[in-house]
């Protein structure tokens, strides 16, 4: 099969900053200036841009550049590895994204103080002041150092604005553990807990106690993807990718997007969900089961809202009805999730979502699963995929 990208994309704007031995400013500022100038060359506004790509070696984070320039919601962002070998790789990424409709306008950049700052001739490593390190600097001196503490900041706000309580956090953690208890592969196989045991766990950061936080574990997961045509001839029943989307919503920081008008929400996942649904025409009503990234118990609640299983702020009522259980409206994390099966950064969730659609989960729900949702981690730029059976083609 040929990639159908011919005539689908074009370069419409270019710019350099000046070249010098000492720019006198940060690599981030250089990147922002070049991006703004290239947009000006093209006659585009920052808000016209929805994709961005750079080198993995670049010290200026894509979302920092986006925020600096006033670029809004990003639907496409990527990095190409391998130093200078990445140069035309940036065009490759942008063309693919545009041709497939993943993004409308992609801006590519590379920025470095290669003489006055970190010199490649000096060798790799050392103490480099990247925009990422500066970002953490706004939180480290105060002790806000752990993923639990960052997520807790959103959770406390969410609990303040909605009727979410420890009851719904417990319901999420409890249901995941129930599923793990009947999954021989899970770290918590045959180890269910009750409310008393949940309440007795040590405090981590308010409102989280130990069982609200995911496992730490060794392991690996892998997924093989091929064309749908080819999938028809293979051994296992194919699981069709109906849609896949990712998003870094405007004004994003990694784990600490505390500066938006409201933080009791995850706009990146809201937008990814809307995008995925519009790619394939499915709605929440069509989704029969879900694997929802569960590094911490409340993030499951927010994602249920993002994907439209309930209204914003109403996930408490949804889960308290038992919706996540095997006989519920949306059997969720049937493997036990990362709270109770294992923490393989969500890839074990893709494995389980595939099994659900094949009908081979160790905890296969009684009803037919035509479509399943699987999501990525939140608090960071995120996304999700909708999977379906061959019968849905």
């Amino acid at each position: 099969m040929n990639a159908n990208i011919k005539d689908k994309a074009a370069i419409v704007g270019v710019a350099n900053t000046e070249f010098s031995k000492n720019s006198g400013r940060s690599e981030l500022q250089l990147a922002a200036e070049a991006v703004a100038a290239a947009l000006d060359d093209a006659g585009l506004k920052p808000s016209d841009v929805d994709g961005i790509t750079t080198f993995t070696m670049d010290t200026s984070d894509e979302i920092e550049v986006a925020r600096a320039v006033g670029i809004g919601d990003l639907n496409f962002y990527s990095r190409v590895p391998h130093g200078g070998g990445a140069a035309t790789g940036l065009i490759h990424q942008a063309v693919m994204a545009v041709a497939t409709g993943m993004a409308e306008t992609v801006v590519c950049y590379r920025s470095l103080n290669g003489r006055s700052g970190h010199r490649f001739s000096g060798g790799v490593s050392g103490d480099i002041t990247t925009s990422d390190a500066i970002h953490w600097g706004w939180y480290m001196p105060y002790g806000l150092l752990t993923p639990a503490s960052w997520v807790a900041m959103f959770t406390q706000r969410y609990m303040h604005l909605t009727n979410c309580t420890k009851d719904s956090l417990f319901e999420v953690a409890y249901t995941m553990r129930q599923h793990a208890a009947s999954n021989p592969a899970a770290l918590f196989y045959q180890k269910p807990f009750d409310r008393a045991e949940y309440n007795a766990q040590k405090k981590i950061v308010d409102p989280f106690q130990l069982y609200d936080c995911c496992l730490e574990s060794d392991g690996a997961s892998a997924v093989v993807i091929t064309s749908t045509e080819r999938a028809k001839d293979l051994k296992q029943p194919g699981v069709v990718i109906k849609a896949v989307a990712q998003c870094a919503a405007a004004d994003m920081e990694v784990m600490t997007s505390f500066y938006r008008d409201e933080i009791a929400a995850i706009p990146s996942m809201d937008i990814a969900a809307q995008t995925a649904y519009s790619q394939c025409g499915l709605t929440a009503d069509d989704i029969d089961a879900a694997i929802i990234y569960d590094a911490f118990s409340p993030i499951v609640l927010w994602q249920l809202e993002s994907w439209g299983f309930c209204k914003h702020g109403e996930a408490h009522d949804f889960v308290m009805d038992g919706a996540l259980r095997l006989d519920g409206r949306l059997p969720t994390n049937t493997h036990g999730g990362q709270l109770s099966e294992a923490y393989i950064h969500g890839v074990n969730g893709i494995v389980e979502a595939t099994r659900l659609v094949r009908g081979t989960s160790v905890n296969q729900p009684g009803k037919t699963i035509n479509h399943a949702l699987v999501t990525a981690g939140v608090g960071v730029p995120t996304g999700g995929a909708l999977l379906g059976t061959m019968d849905t083609l």
């Binding site: 000096g122 706004w138 105060y142 981590i204 933080i263």
Partner: protein, 326 residues
């Protein structure tokens, strides 16, 4: 140093690679319950598997174990270390660096592997080797070399129980000030841990420098006057790179907060209340809420900030409940 001098220096330091730091160091005491209990108490780790023999027997561990992070302590020198500084091979290596102007020292990272749980009665011996020394590197601290030592811990049967890699940077302090070294003299007592500082770069250094001078600033676009925090080099509203700043009143209210209990990082006091604060100027800032029981903090609570010296090295904004009527 000219190239010949550098070569001679490097020959000297690289000759240390592969050398044992000294004879294997056997711990003064076997792994024992009283020391485990002291450690667990100080670290605030309430896991029963360290202190409650009955609960431990019924756990998957089958009995009391030592916290894995105690590994290194079992073979430590003890209080005698504070008096006569040990003249081991590593110290000799550092001396060579010091003599050539590489007086700065910075512990950059350590990784530890644990091969089995230690139980009371186990006897731990540490074997340390100078494992590698990097090529010369240009770092933000100055020109220097990374030294990696590897310590293998064995038990009474000679079996490996754990392994620790410790990496330090020996460097020429970038400002040429030899006093920037923290370990170049032998008579220093260990400093109390301090809070982790922000790196300071082009886009944020000015803000932290102002904090050191007792002022909390908010960046302002010179073109459209929009305030922004955290600082960044371009205005997202009008793309201007021209900016100045205003001084914040440090008054505002709690937008959200969380109290941290675990893990306890050295340099911080727990429970530790962190908050996102909406300042009256319209921007937000993350800081600590102090001067109030963390249980009494609420979203919407009015707060007023001060810039305070919170430890030996750190100036930081800290926010208190605003006095009624203020």
């Amino acid at each position: 140093m000219n190239p010949e001098e550098t070569q001679a220096f490097e020959e000297k330091i690289y000759a240390f690679i592969g050398r044992e730091n000294g004879p294997p160091k056997k711990g003064h005491d076997a792994v024992n319950e009283p020391m485990i209990r002291h450690w667990a108490e100080i670290m605030g780790d309430e896991s029963p598997v360290y202190t409650d023999s009955e609960a431990a027997i019924n756990s998957s561990k089958g009995g009391i174990i030592a916290p894995p992070s105690m590994l290194q302590t079992w073979s430590m020198e003890g209080y005698s270390m504070a008096g006569d500084f040990v003249q081991d091979v590593q110290r000799g290596l550092h001396n060579v660096f010091d003599e050539h102007g590489y007086t700065g020292v910075l512990g950059t990272n350590t990784t530890t592997e644990f091969f089995r749980d230690l139980k009371p009665g186990d006897e731990v011996t540490a074997h340390t080797v100078i494992d590698s020394i990097s090529e010369q590197k240009a770092t933000a601290r100055g020109i220097g070399y990374f030294i990696e030592t590897v310590t293998t811990f064995t038990d009474q049967d000679g079996e490996d129980v754990g392994r620790q890699v410790f990496r330090v940077l020996k460097f020429v302090p970038a400002d040429g000030d030899a006093s920037a070294s923290s370990e170049s003299t032998d008579d220093e007592s260990p400093a109390a841990p301090t809070r982790i500082a922000s790196p300071r770069g082009h886009d944020n250094g000015w803000w932290w420098n102002a904090i050191d001078e007792g002022k909390m600033l908010i960046q302002r676009c010179k073109n459209c006057q929009t305030l922004r925090h955290p600082p960044r080099p371009m205005c997202g509203e009008c793309q201007s790179i021209e900016w100045d700043s205003i001084e914040s009143s440090m008054e505002g209210e709690v937008f959200s907060f969380t109290t941290l209990h675990y893990p306890k990082i050295p340099g911080y006091d727990y429970p530790l209340c962190c908050a996102v604060i909406s300042l009256n100027e319209g921007t937000r800032i993350v800081s600590n809420i102090v001067g109030i029981d963390h249980e009494d903090v609420t979203i919407g609570m009015k707060v007023k900030g001060n810039i305070e010296q919170v430890d030996e090295k750190t100036m930081l904004p800290q926010f208190y409940p605003a006095q009624a009527g203020e």
